[in-house]
Symmetry: C2
Subunit: 285 residues, 2 copies
């Protein structure tokens, strides 16, 4: 093997990861190996999961998980410590549900759902799918209650809705999220009832669903950072410019969210199939 054509940082065989489960009738169709003149990083199985790759894999997973949890923890801390927590009778405190539930639903739960789908390559594909759906399903009530909280709070304080960049991005994100959930649920769970007949359609849907999933996550991050900036200017006003504690906390949440917007698309582009899981990966293809 020519080491000179191999990178120590193998790229993700994303295509492999995104191929939908093979119909039972053709579990091992290998009649056409790829042309030999197109050598890729990920072809070198003996190097894909060497020490460096394992280190990178663990680093990406650990950092992603820490950032996903940190986003929600920091938001809850900010709201409780600096914004006086939650109270449904006070429109201002009712509003506080909005950042917590939106970050919790859109970012933490959706982020773990995306990450989990990519990490757990050794588990049964159906279980991973169900967990992926479950995490996304859990984020739906968060998003709905988060949206209603701000809607109701705005109406009670006679603040207009849908005028800001934050709200525009939020609407696009919610629409894309709903579409993704419905199409994903229909394509990858319901259509499994006629596994063979729907294989081609499901295969077609996989890269579309994956691409739009990452896009929705990026949109959620963009929405969140504009929302944080807006809130900081509304609530802190001039004092935001004095680098006060609350401003630092808000900025830190924004930095964590942006870090997630970078690491999650990066994580899902990398190969997550350890060599000893090859049997499952092959089965899945």
């Amino acid at each position: 093997m020519d080491g000179a054509t191999v990178s120590p940082m193998p790229e993700a065989p994303l295509a492999m990861m995104e191929i939908e489960k093979t119909p039972p009738r053709s579990p091992s169709n290998h009649d056409m190996p790829p042309p030999p003149d197109e050598k890729r990083y990920d072809d070198d199985d003996d190097r894909v999961w060497d020490c460096g790759a394992w280190f990178e894999y663990i680093l990406v997973v650990v950092v992603s998980s820490i950032l996903l949890i940190a986003a929600s923890v920091l938001t809850i801390f900010w709201v409780i410590y600096y914004r006086r927590g939650f109270n449904m009778d006070d429109p201002k405190l009712q509003f506080n549900l909005h950042p917590v539930l939106m970050v919790g639903g859109y970012i933490t739960l959706s982020g773990f759902s995306i990450l989990l789908y990519r990490i757990c390559r050794c588990c049964s594909h159906l279980i991973v799918k169900l967990c992926h759906t479950f995490f996304h399903a859990c984020s739906i009530p968060c998003i709905v209650i988060g949206f209603l909280a701000v809607w109701d709070s705005h109406n009670q304080t006679q603040t207009p809705n849908f005028y800001s960049l934050h709200s525009w991005l939020g609407c696009i994100t919610m629409g894309l999220f709903a579409l993704q959930f419905v199409l994903g649920f229909f394509s990858f769970l319901i259509l499994l009832c006629c596994e063979n007949a729907t294989y081609k359609f499901r295969s077609t849907m996989v890269p579309i669903h994956a691409s739009f999933g990452v896009a929705t996550f990026m949109l959620a991050v963009a929405t969140a950072v504009t929302g944080l900036t807006q809130k900081a200017h509304f609530e802190l006003g001039e004092s935001y410019q004095q680098t006060i504690e609350e401003g630092i906390i808000i900025n830190s949440i924004g930095v964590v969210l942006t870090g997630l917007g970078i690491i999650i698309p990066f994580a899902v582009r990398r190969s997550n199939s350890p060599a000893n899981c090859k049997v499952y990966v092959t089965e899945r293809i």
Copy 2:
């Protein structure tokens, strides 16, 4: 060929695109073809550039280009039509250089630089590299003048610097951009003087440079949308809530930028090598 294992939307052989130029001593080392049991979408060369793939390729390139130009055009229009253009003697009008140069430098020029590197697979690799460097080099004066414009304007109006989420993200983005440029210039142009000896190092650097390049672009988008939100609240105040014309323009710039933050990472993940360019791609590997 088993059509059932092929998606009509082939995934990008990103690894292939990212492999650094082979040292001249081994231009056609094909002794180890990829194992036949790992069939990928992109292995089916006869389908990779079918009608649907071409349509998608053209759509992505055209939409990306339109959005990249629209971001700068909309920003210039906003600044000249609603913010009274530029004047270095007035700190408020001096500030106006900031959004125009930052969007022009970070987003439009860097975006085209990334896109170009991926589109022009039929051109000489060195020419593509030089163009990629040239576009990035052009964005440096934009970023430096854009930064100095806001720094000087803030100092003249006694507005504090580096307190907001926008400025924090901006600092991280500038640092990453500078690091990327210096490392990229050194690794992929200067080290070409000892092509064979540096091949392994350059190969190692390619995926790192590509990943951090996209990350820098995402950071730039996040910085820009927070900046726009901040500016809208500062300049429009209460009237922003009345959905006035300027507010709509600002929001539209934000939506265009977020669209770019989604489509550019998507574009670079896709295969951009038309079948008739295979000779060049193979040469490059």
